[in-house]
């Protein structure tokens, strides 16, 4: 199974065939695990009317890093699906905010655990599940709930993805991935949920077999294309956030 390598030449090649209207999932929580280089490449590629799924739309912190907000500013986004559609402080104005307030971009706000579980469900062939999260809140208004063993639960549906943009620490040519520390976050779930999985990799890509099978975080059969992140300034790497 090791004969074919999944390594592609560069970020632009990796994202070249993403079509208009695609649903894109973007890994990461804060900076760790965000595929900065693939997001930047998607900006250059220019696909339109995208639905973008990530924890946040980004841009609440400095330095500014490639994020959904950048794709919004670039006119590429029809809708976002995020657990934050505003900043964590009332005073935050995200790059996304004015577009959303003017109605130029749609948004679905989803509790973070529900977002993770809906992505997993899409990858796991589970079309819907019940969760206690958001019961009794504005998010549950008009939606189906069900009492099971005396507790009320909300019905949630799988969230399938066309293309996942991920960032991993290590990969082998068969596509097996390892994430470092909190870089893992949504990345393995988006790999499960997506039809096409593109990964930027921090370390030199290893020959198949170099990662012990017990140590694989995301199995290679879920991964389609790998690009090694070059050192800065050619590659984009996490940076220390400025205090605020």
């Amino acid at each position: 199974m090791a004969r074919r390598s999944k390594v592609v030449a560069d970020f632009d090649a990796a994202v070249a065939d993403i079509p208009d209207g695609a649903t894109i999932a973007i890994g990461g929580f804060a900076q760790p695990g965000v595929p900065f280089n693939l997001v930047a490449a998607l900006g250059r590629q220019g696909a339109k009317r995208l639905t973008c799924i990530a924890n946040t739309t980004g841009g609440a912190h400095k330095p500014r890093m490639p994020d959904i907000g950048m794709l919004v500013e670039n006119g590429q986004v029809a809708k976002v699906v995020c657990s934050f559609t505003a900043g964590t402080r009332a005073s935050d104005v995200l790059p996304f905010t004015p577009y959303y307030e003017r109605g130029e971009v749609d948004a679905e706000i989803v509790p973070q655990g529900t977002l993770a579980e809906r992505l997993r469900a899409a990858g796991a062939g589970i079309p819907a599940f019940y969760t206690p999260t958001a019961v009794g809140t504005e998010l549950a208004e008009g939606r189906e709930t069900r009492v099971i063993n005396g507790r009320e639960y909300l019905l949630e549906y799988a969230l399938p993805v066309d293309v996942a943009l991920l960032r991993a620490h290590q990969a082998d040519e068969a596509g097996n991935l390892r994430f470092r520390r909190s870089q893992r976050n949504f990345n393995p779930l988006m790999a499960m949920a997506a039809k096409l999985v593109l990964v930027e990799v921090e370390q030199p890509i290893l020959p198949a077999g170099a990662i012990d099978p017990d140590d694989v975080h995301t199995p290679g059969i879920l991964v389609h294309r790998l690009v090694q992140v070059p050192p800065p300034p050619d590659g984009i790497w996490p940076m220390k956030r400025e205090a605020r």
Binding site: A107, L119, A134, G136
Partner: protein, 209 residues
């Protein structure tokens, strides 16, 4: 002398029991990870899949691959483990959190609270708050007792969209420590110099001793 945020953190940390799994939210609650607990041992969980983290990393020693829920670079303690987001929220919804500590805009006598959407906003910031609020064994809030313009944040009923129904266990404010009773709030502790009358004046529902 109202409690400082550090004192609110220390007061809530006194409630932690040995062996608890403690989830800390964004903002003020992150202070709690640095409070000394003496003989008690708790494990801090962060929604992004970090189990067993310690204090914020000293400047210059940050591991940029490792953040807590607030995006701060933190350290790991011996015995730490990393899981992905679905497993992290499995632990949360599965009832493994003995307590979650969060910031809030409003808390109500019936145990409701609101911390994800401000008045008139289009959009909000839920993060993991609704999952944690619905499923942690206890919900502790850390918040200023009044808004900047002096309006009470401890109310009969929330005016903002709520995060979860009837889940609040304790609320630490600059004035003291309060527990919702259904009809109002019971005082558990007062900041030095704060009085019951002062707490009553600052609260929009009955406050009992």
């Amino acid at each position: 002398m109202p409690w400082s945020r550090q004192q609110m953190a220390e007061r809530l940390a006194r409630e932690f029991q040995d062996g608890w799994i403690v989830n800390l939210g964004v903002g003020m609650p992150t202070l709690i990870a640095d409070v000394p607990l003496g003989e008690r041992e708790v494990i801090f969980h962060s929604e992004n899949g970090v189990i067993g983290y310690g204090p914020v990393t000293p400047p210059g020693q940050e591991d940029l691959h490792l953040v807590n829920a607030g995006g701060q670079n933190v350290t790991l303690l011996p015995g730490a483990a990393i899981v992905h987001h679905a497993d992290s929220f499995a632990l949360i919804r599965g009832g493994r959190m003995d307590v979650t500590v969060m910031g809030a805009y409003e808390a109500a006598a019936n145990g409701d609270f609101a911390n994800w959407k401000v008045k008139g906003a289009k959009g909000g910031g839920i993060g993991g708050a609704m999952d944690l609020a619905a499923s942690a064994k206890r919900v502790f809030l850390m918040m200023e007792h009044r808004t900047r313009d002096g309006s009470p944040r401890l109310l009969q009923r929330c005016t903002l969209p709520i995060t979860a129904r009837g889940v609040v266990t304790l609320v630490a404010t600059d004035l003291g420590l309060f527990a919702p009773t259904g009809e109002g709030f019971a005082v558990r502790d007062l900041a030095p110099g704060a009085t019951l009358d002062e707490a009553r004046a600052a609260t929009a529902c009955p406050v009992s001793d």
